[in-house]
């Protein structure tokens, strides 16, 4: 059994937002709808200040809060660990977004365009892929992965079978692979560099690991 996971190297992330935009473009997401958000934190007082970037996306928790909270069953967990939202089932209550400890979900409230009032061929074609009034979140590009696998490619190694954000990251800060395979790049990185997960104390068992900055 596979368990897909991502590793984020905080030492390498430079906050460029390439992951965010490439994901948006790939999935055809409208204004302010993001599946991965690179947040920024600043701590301390001048001149002893620490500033850092933390890419946040769905952690594909093994025990997902959202799954438990979702009343409709629109949120589902696949056998490979990927947590997805079935847009056809979602009623848009937003409980999942509130309970997610990682602010991984965005609600598509209305069909909003970057260029209000103006026609734009691209938006007209791409935004039909999503339903308004439903929840959006990272799905580890599962369609891409499934399709890649069906062509005999290995996720995390072949770009065609790897999430868009991972292959676009210009800091090479993102890795994807199978957590259950101790030899996979993600497993090895987590071991070698003391990978940790965010808010582990909540018991959500995220599948996204972070490598420390120092």
């Amino acid at each position: 059994m596979k368990r897909y996971a991502m590793v984020v190297d905080l030492k390498k992330c430079l906050g460029c937002q390439t992951c965010t935009i490439s994901c948006k473009l790939f999935h055809g997401l409208g204004p302010d709808i993001v599946r991965v958000k690179v947040i920024e934190q600043e701590e301390g007082e001048f001149p002893h200040v620490e500033r850092m970037f933390i890419p946040l996306r769905c952690m594909h928790c093994d025990d997902p809060e959202c799954l438990k909270a979702c009343p409709t069953g629109a949120t589902k967990k696949r056998t490979d660990g990927i947590v997805i939202v079935d847009q056809d089932e979602c009623m848009g209550c937003r409980y999942c977004a509130v309970v997610c400890p990682y602010q991984a979900r965005t609600f598509i409230a209305v069909d909003r365009r970057y260029f209000p009032g103006n026609g734009n061929l691209w938006e007209a074609k791409r935004y039909t892929e999503h339903q308004t009034g439903t929840m959006q979140k990272c799905d580890f590009c599962y369609k891409r992965i499934d399709e890649g696998i069906s062509r005999g490619l290995e996720p995390g190694i072949a770009p065609e079978a790897t999430p868009m954000c991972v292959i676009s990251c210009i800091g090479k800060a993102l890795y994807f692979g199978d957590l259950n395979d101790p030899e996979s790049k993600v497993s090895r990185l987590i071991k070698q560099r003391n990978g940790f997960r965010l808010k582990e104390e909540l018991g959500t068992e995220p599948s996204v690991y972070f490598l420390p900055r120092r």
Binding site: K12, C16, E45, Y114, P159, M164, I170
Partner: protein
């Protein structure tokens, strides 16, 4: 679904190849092109800006069809009232004006070119202009000096001195082999593109150390190991003190790369009593002191046993000064340049610098020691089977550090530190990226030829009266004022551009006021936004008789245009472009060659490809023949259409289609790369994207070629500059020009250092104001999401940028804000001596209390969408002040301001 290969060159860190995914008649999305993973430093990935190209293409706020002005009155508050026109009508209107010029003569009564063309974006128009260069070349004399902010506001001193010492436009670090980098405001994570970002990310993973010295904790400081909150414009003093520590507190004889200092620099050159190189009386060659034999010898005498670096000697010799003047001495008292350096640097103690930079002296000492400790002097590494020194330490400079007052000193001190550690142009050290003032641009090795006195050749503007008499005229007069900038294709862009603009309204004493160009073509630059003193700029452009903009959206400059010709954008046009071996920046390729930019789908609007536009203009102005001949001769990317065994020449009298022209250029380009052996046509390029051949990586380092020719870097002693400076001074004195005196003082053999931050206080004082009233240095920083102001019209970029603190307002230190009663998000007034504006305060801890920061290049009032962002621009707060120009005519993006809470009354 179809994959279409192309490249991005929205900023000078490219070109970066990628793939468009085309489906259902639209460019659906963008993906990296991993086919070039082993070839390009970006490994086939593209940055956030490239993903914005899709929105750029479908942007409904684009100029969708040619526009012609109907309101003859020009002004910020005058709606140009553009009306839509057909291509034929618009082109004919432009051609008519151009034909008039050809009738009247290409130069006007005063000798200035009647046609002026401005291109900006730091050279990236080359990746988009198609055959436009052929049109320009076919035309004849053109004034390129009416530029935007590029060049003179760029890494200016770095460009000029970089070419002088490194043969490089920008000096980067050999990051993959580097162990320790000290960056003075070199904002890698925002400005170094995919290649820079990626190389530094890899180095972090490997564990190199990076120190970022900067007045605020920038996005690059985020991933650095240490942040030194240095005061603005005190970078040179910091480095001077580092040199002082090495030379006067450490045993420099033991810890420095003595071999390098002796053999690769002019440190051993003897300097005469008048401060010029001491020369052999008979041969005129420079002398050194052989400490073993105790005698003076010509610098390249193979019998020299050891070079003296210190001491005082008496030698029978001569000195040669300005205008060939010579002094012959029976016994000239002389010292090696290095000895003079030692003496020169004594005063610049860490304690002195500590006061100036607001950094503890202990930190400066530690940093100096760290640099030495990490230099691994003596180590070697093999690259392409060749052994070269490995000195994994480097210092990089950002643009505001390397322009304006103190720019020269910063570049010089940086190079001195490279010299002391032997890390100049060797593996792991300070390595230049491609050159622009010298040719060929793409291969630094081939431009290195032995010149005078054991240095490599440099082509500077003449300072002797004879050759100066016949210099071609441009409105910035760079050939007369800035010897270092030379006079090749790029020189006008790096000239003292502000001059040209300032002098239209008021020229200085004994200096001619320039004429307005009959026709001004602007392409991919927005001077009224990117230059300083934007109000003055607008007043000037308003007066221009005829302005043609090859544009994308309405902007603050083409607001004043008479015609706007909309071009195909990045994902729509067709052309070939050079990739590798290095660009202006830290982008060192493993291979080099040519890549194709091609349309993904049919363009959605009535725009035109630059090649077609150029051909049209050539035909309509009657220079088709010259145009075709220019293409034949290799004006496009240096690809000649004829060579041994092949001939793809265009018939000069015939009109060729876009595809025909590029097909020939494609074929010829591959011939060029393969010594005539292979050929690929346009179709092949369309499928495969690019054709490259191996570039021996060793060629990225100058060291081997310097050794091969037995050459030295002219460092530390600026013998030549001293002479040039004096000659220039004489020439200007002859003309009664006094206003360049401050700048002439910069031509020092060993530059003196001072607290350059004070210059901005002096400037405020000179206006009759109290500098204490303006307590903040306002500085500017780039963001990865924006390429200057060129993608400011894209809402998706604003969305991406907003996740990074600093975008959309002015950043101010938290404790200062508290004192001023300012809270995050408050509207505050920012006031410089000349401008007052409100904006949003962004309160942060990671910024010096004496600094405020704006991100990016905004301030727009015309560009769609961007104009609603209401983000201030540093440029509008600035005012012309000659004392803030350096000898190259550049100035730094710094202005003193006050900030206060808005009070409603």
């Amino acid at each position: 679904m179809k994959e279409v290969k192309t490249y991005c060159f929205q900023c000078y860190n490219g070109p970066d190849p990628f793939k468009m995914i085309v489906e259902d008649g639209i460019v659906r999305h963008i993906e990296p092109d991993f086919d070039c993973a082993g070839i390009s430093p970006g490994e086939g990935r593209v940055c956030v800006k490239a993903y914005g190209l899709v929105q750029k293409m479908y942007n409904p706020n684009r100029i969708k069809t040619p526009l012609i002005r109907t309101n003859p009155k020009k002004g910020k508050n005058e709606d140009p009232r553009f009306r839509e026109a057909t291509w034929d009508e618009a082109l004919e209107l432009v051609a008519e004006k151009l034909r008039e010029i050809r009738k009247k003569g290409l130069l006007d009564e005063k000798g200035y070119p009647r046609l002026a063309v401005s291109m900006g974006e730091a050279g990236s128009p080359a990746g988009y202009g198609g055959t436009f260069p052929a049109f320009l070349s076919a035309w004849g004399p053109i004034d390129f000096t009416l530029g935007g902010g590029e060049g003179s506001k760029c890494y200016h001193a770095e460009h000029l001195y970089g070419e002088l010492w490194h043969r490089a436009f920008i000096v980067a670090s050999d990051t993959p082999r580097n162990r320790w980098t000290l960056s003075f405001g070199h904002n890698t994570n925002a400005s170094a593109g995919v290649s820079g970002a990626m190389r530094h990310a890899d180095a972090r993973e490997r564990g190199y150390k990076r120190i970022q010295a900067e007045p605020h904790l920038s996005v690059s400081a985020v991933t650095s190991d240490e942040w030194i909150p240095i005061k603005t414009k005190t970078d040179a003093p910091f480095m001077y003190a580092m040199i002082n520590v090495i030379l006067h507190e450490m045993a420099w004889e033991k810890v420095c790369d003595i071999d390098f200092i002796k053999k690769r620099t002019n440190s051993p050159y003897l300097i005469g009593p008048r401060g010029y190189y001491l020369r052999d009386i008979e041969t005129g060659e420079v002398l050194v002191w052989d400490s073993v034999e105790g005698a003076s010898k010509i610098y390249n005498d193979p019998s020299i046993k050891d070079f003296a670096l210190t001491g005082k000697y008496r030698v029978r010799a001569k000195e040669r000064g300005p205008d060939g003047e010579e002094w012959i001495y029976d016994e000239a008292e002389c010292r090696p340049a290095f000895q003079l350096l030692l003496e020169h640097m004594r005063a610049y103690t860490p304690e002195w610098a500590s006061e100036v930079c607001d950094v503890p002296a202990s930190t400066i000492r530690r940093i100096a020691r760290e640099m030495i400790e990490n230099a691994s002097i003596g180590a070697e590494i093999e690259i392409c089977g060749e052994k070269i020194p490995l000195r994994p330490v480097a210092i990089t400079l950002g643009k505001t550090i390397s322009n304006g007052p103190g720019g020269y000193q910063a570049c010089w001190a940086r190079t001195i530190l490279a010299m002391l550690t032997g890390s100049l142009e060797v593996a792991g050290g300070s390595v230049g990226a491609s050159q622009r003032l010298n040719r060929p641009h793409h291969d630094r090795w081939s431009s290195i030829w032995p010149g005078e006195d054991g240095f490599f050749q440099n082509f500077l503007n003449p300072t002797d009266p004879e050759r100066r008499a016949n210099l071609p005229k441009t409105r910035s007069h760079y050939t007369e004022l800035v010897p270092l900038v030379g006079n090749t294709g790029w020189s006008p862009f790096l000239s003292p551009v502000p001059h040209a603009w300032l002098w239209f309204s008021q020229s200085p004493e004994n200096w001619e006021k320039p004429t307005y160009p009959d026709v001004w073509i602007i392409y991919r630059t927005n001077p009224n936004m990117s230059m300083y003193y934007t109000d003055l700029m607008e007043e000037t452009t308003k007066e221009f008789p005829f302005i043609v903009s090859i544009g994308y959206t309405l902007d603050e400059t083409n607001w004043y245009a008479d015609v706007i010709l909309p071009e195909h954008t990045d994902l729509e046009g067709l052309q070939l472009f050079r990739v590798g071996p290095s660009t202006h920046s830290e982008a060192y390729w493993q291979e080099y060659g040519f890549a194709l930019r091609q349309p993904g789908t049919a363009p959605p609007y009535n725009t035109m490809d630059m090649t077609e536009l150029s051909t049209e203009l050539a035909i309509r102005t009657g220079i088709l023949k010259e145009y075709n001949e220019a293409i034949n001769a290799g004006i496009i990317l240096g690809i000649r259409l004829q060579g041994r065994g092949y001939n793809y020449m265009l018939n000069p009298d015939r009109r060729y289609s876009i595809e025909e022209i590029w097909d020939r250029l494609c074929r010829a380009s591959v011939r060029l790369l393969t010594n005539g052996k292979e050929e690929r046509d346009l179709e092949w390029f369309k499928q495969n994207g690019y054709f490259t051949v191996v570039y021996p990586f060793i060629r990225h380092f100058l060291h081997p070629v310097m050794v091969k020719w037995g050459l030295r870097y002219e460092i530390p002693y600026q013998g030549r500059l001293k002479i040039i400076g004096e000659e220039l001074k004489r020439r200007l004195e002859d003309k009664g020009i006094k206003w360049w005196e401050e700048q002439l003082k910069e031509y020092e053999a060993l530059p003196r250092c001072e607290d350059f931050s004070q210059k901005w206080d002096e400037s405020v004082r000179a206006l009759g104001l109290d500098p204490d009233e303006y307590p903040f240095y306002m500085v500017n920083t780039r963001s990865m999401q924006y390429a200057w102001g060129s993608n400011a019209s894209l809402p998706i970029m604003a969305e991406m940028a907003k996740y990074v603190t600093g975008f959309g307002g002015i950043v101010i230190n938290a404790s200062v804000a508290e004192k001023l009663g300012i809270e995050d998000g408050d509207t505050v007034v920012v006031e410089s001596p000349v401008k007052k504006k409100t904006c949003r305060a962004i309160v942060r801890e990671g910024i010096r209390p004496d600094t405020v920061l704006v991100t990016g290049q905004f301030g727009n009032w015309a560009v769609p969408f961007a104009k609603d962002l209401k983000i201030p621009s540093l440029n509008e707060f600035m005012y012309p002040d000659q004392r803030l120009f350096d000898a190259g005519g550049s100035s730094a993006d710094i202005v003193k301001v006050k900030v206060y809470k808005i009070t409603i009354d």
